[in-house]
Symmetry: C2
Subunit: 242 residues, 2 copies
DNA sequence: TGCGATTTGTACGTATGTATT
DNA sequence: CAATACATACGTACAAATCGC
């Protein structure tokens, strides 16, 4: 039973091998710490070359299902916690995916300097010029999100010339900072009076708050807080052993 | 300038090639849609074999930075939204990571059947036996989370024999269902009276609610709702172009 | 301490298949 | 149909890490 590994004949060989080894792991038949057959054993088992077996095993290691070490071989990884992949798309995309018309309103645009107000969260030298933008997003005419952007003008100087009256800052930034390094912090908070009014909610309503810091080439580029009515928006994610 | 790609001499060759091609993409020098040099061109550029170049390009494609198509070649992918990886560890691990002592209390344990109460969210045949568990988690003696588990006994029959008075159901399930397919939905909600009392909060306090559905071999296995005080807990995630 | 054996990591060369223009 | 460029797969070789003797 320990070696009832079988190929299913569907798709590329390295995928079949990956699935064959994956199955007893996700079924629990091979508990964490159990040794996985070596590449040579799998070569003999399946009649495949080592490159092919190696690719299958490397993929499993990349996905975190096994841990590979030289000489000692590979073992099933300990299931720590989930690492869920949350898709955080643009607000426009989210709204339009729900077949509603999207619109946007700029609430404020002002220049500031670091170590002033909420910019302290940013970890940049005091005095660094920042651009602060507040805006509101609508789905079908109803407010659906508030956003507060702090853009580091030392890192993104072009932002100075942009009025942000038509283009939401999130989309503008995404176009200029493709694939930045980012950190997200998601919490819940009670809407204050001003926030509740802007979102058309009763004061105190629970809201989802998503803070995002992003860097460009190691330099802090933007700090964005997004607020959603708690009942009107959800962050969804998935974990799937491939 | 379009071909000022250079290796840095550090680490394996395929990593160097990946970094060399990654750099102009994340800097924005190569905008989405721009053609990436073909494998043959990169072979000639770097003097590497096609297998090595292929591995570098395949990794970039796996990470979503490029899209590969036969005949037409590879292009820089459009930056859609972020796909943040949120680590959702066990509550015990989270508490102990903050140097607090963890404890756990079982509040309820009862048998139920599907299409009864909140089990309807589950999409399983009516009448399927379920086990419902409520529990509370403490960090340093103070309540830090509430959990409500619905376990499908048709998928996880061993749960019937487990009292869950010492072992939190989350940990018990994690040990028996390693790497299940899971879906997460994160929302915010106002604490009701009972919830507020159990979490030692003022009624109405914003809480973070994490719903998790998990499947085992395609069969729904468990539905878990976790509630955290909104101010006392955060879900954090990261996006990093490797 | 050193040495050999095992196992994975990297890289090469080559060949053939497949999707697309 | 031909050309292009990626996809898969084989065989080989050497390097690096590590374990046991």
């Amino acid at each position: 039973m320990t070696d009832s590994l079988a190929l299913d004949g569907r798709g590329p060989l390295h995928e079949q091998i990956r699935r064959a080894v994956c199955a007893p792991i996700i079924s629990g038949a091979w508990p964490p710490g159990r040794r996985v057959p070596s590449e040579h054993e799998l070569m003999a088992l399946f009649g495949a070359s080592r490159m092919t077996v190696n690719r299958a095993m490397r993929t499993l290691a990349d996905d975190g299902l096994i841990v590979r070490r030289r000489r000692t071989g590979s073992v099933v990884a300990a299931a720590t916690g989930d690492r869920a992949v949350m898709s955080i798309g643009s607000i426009r995309a989210t709204v339009e995916a729900g077949d509603q018309t999207y619109s946007y309103e700029s609430l404020a645009r002002r220049h500031a300097r670091a170590s002033d107000d909420s910019a302290g969260r940013f970890k940049i030298a005091a005095g660094t010029p920042l651009l602060n933008l507040s805006c509101r997003h609508f789905a079908g005419g109803r407010p659906t999100a508030l956003e507060d952007h702090w853009i580091n003008l030392a890192a993104v100087p072009e932002a100075s010339d942009e009025p942000f009256d038509k283009t939401p800052p999130g989309e503008w930034l995404a176009a200029r900072l493709p694939w930045p390094k980012s950190q997200y912090v998601v919490t819940a908070l009670n809407a204050g009076a001003a926030m509740a009014k802007l979102l058309d909610l009763a004061p105190g309503t629970a809201c989802l708050k998503i803070d995002r810091r992003s860097w460009r080439n190691g330099v802090p580029a933007a700090f964005v807080t997004t607020l959603y009515p708690g009942t009107g928006h959800a962050l969804t994610g998935e974990v799937a052993p491939p």
